[in-house]
């Protein structure tokens, strides 16, 4: 198999992890007094342990091919859970989120790419349900949004993320603003505000952009992305909050097979009648 390294399963996961680095670094640096390094380290360490334990429980022998790749695949998931959860989520909540992501979002369905839901979104949802956030949402950091977008664009450029999805998510997130445009006095900055939201950027590129849990048809991907963006803005949890983001994604994940089925056109070449 002559695939470029980033197209192979291990490389794909490694690239996802690398693409998260600029945003992760920005997160840590922009909030120097927050315990981000501890939380990220805990999530990553726990991910390795839980993933290895789950693989042993699923009785895959130590030399089985793909084990290292699967452990690598668990890392971006755990990192996303840690990054999406508000900083005031207790550590046990974070640990529960990582465990739920790997157990319920991954291995319960048979491993990489088998779950209909994005594992990290599922983990965050479980953690938020167990330990609801108390603090106000984090301030919007355009620099952080830019850092997430930079990593996401690399994934998009290398074809790991289908381009239609992040574009549609961001477009969908702009729709409520556009609808209110005539009444708001035409404030362009307010209109483009969602694009400066780090959670939305993370959602667009790293969560909704995961091809496995989204739609697979061309039209389906646009609709899926737009639905995620729109719901993330409109859900009562509040625009740009992690709760709204993961709820929007999980809802659209659940609807993805239906969207694909409804929007599937016939084959390009007509088939002879049976």
């Amino acid at each position: 198999m002559n695939l470029p390294p980033w197209r192979r399963i291990g490389g794909r996961e490694g690239l996802r992890l690398l693409a998260l680095l600029p945003g992760t670094a920005a997160t840590v640096l922009l909030a120097a007094d927050a315990p981000w390094p501890l939380r990220l380290g805990l999530a990553l360490g726990l991910a390795v342990l839980v993933e290895a334990a789950l693989q042993i429980l699923r009785s895959r022998h130590p030399g089985a091919p793909g084990r290292h790749e699967d452990i690598l695949a668990a890392l971006p998931i755990a990192l996303l859970v840690a990054l999406l959860l508000p900083i005031d989520t207790p550590l046990w909540g974070l640990a529960a989120g990582v465990c739920a992501a790997l157990l319920l979002g991954r291995h319960a369905h048979g491993g990489s790419g088998q779950s209909p839901f994005h594992p990290a979104a599922l983990g965050v949802a479980v953690a938020l349900a167990l330990a609801p956030p108390t603090a106000t949402p984090a301030a919007v950091e355009p620099l952080l949004a830019l850092a997430w977008a930079a990593g996401g664009l690399v994934l998009l450029r290398l074809g790991i993320v289908p381009a239609a999805v992040p574009v549609a998510v961001l477009a969908g997130a702009l729709l409520p603003g556009l609808a209110a445009w005539p009444g708001s006095g035409g404030d362009a900055m307010a209109l483009l505000q969602p694009l400066a939201d780090p959670t939305l950027m993370l959602l667009a590129f790293f969560l909704a952009g995961d091809p496995a849990s989204g739609c697979h048809g061309r039209a389906g991907r646009w609709l899926f992305g737009a639905g995620v963006g729109l719901l993330a803005m409109l859900l009562p949890a509040g625009a740009g909050t992690p709760a709204a983001a993961v709820a929007a994604l999980l809802l659209m994940n659940a609807a993805a097979p239906l969207l694909d089925h409804a929007l599937r056109r016939g084959p390009a070449t007509p088939t002879p009648p049976p």
């Binding site: 091809p211 084959p267 088939t271």
Partner: protein, 133 residues
Amino acid sequence: MARPCIRCGDCQPACPVRLDPLALHATLRRGAVDEALALGLSACTGCAACDAVCPSALPLAAGFRAAAAAVQAERQRRASADAARERYRQRSARLAREAETAQGVQARRAARLGAAAAAALAKARARTAADPS
């Protein structure tokens, strides 16, 4: 060891006849052959461009070809079964027709024989009555 499909979608842009190998693979795994046909299974050229980009190294084209061949074989089997059934039906009808025809011939012959015998008898009786010696 082949890994399962990770649903990355890399095979979709690779297909030269614009089929959706990902969906085809999933439907065939479910055993939904009719659905796979609706997705254009028969149009697969077997070029294996999907295999070449699959990170799980799945033998996609071979699976599609085997499924298409199975569909073709099933169609042929059904066609030959239909033909055999039709042949049997026509043979039965012909035999019934022939049996009916044979019965008719016998009945007519018997009737004709019966009439001839009666005529001969009557003629003999008449002759006996006219000439008692």
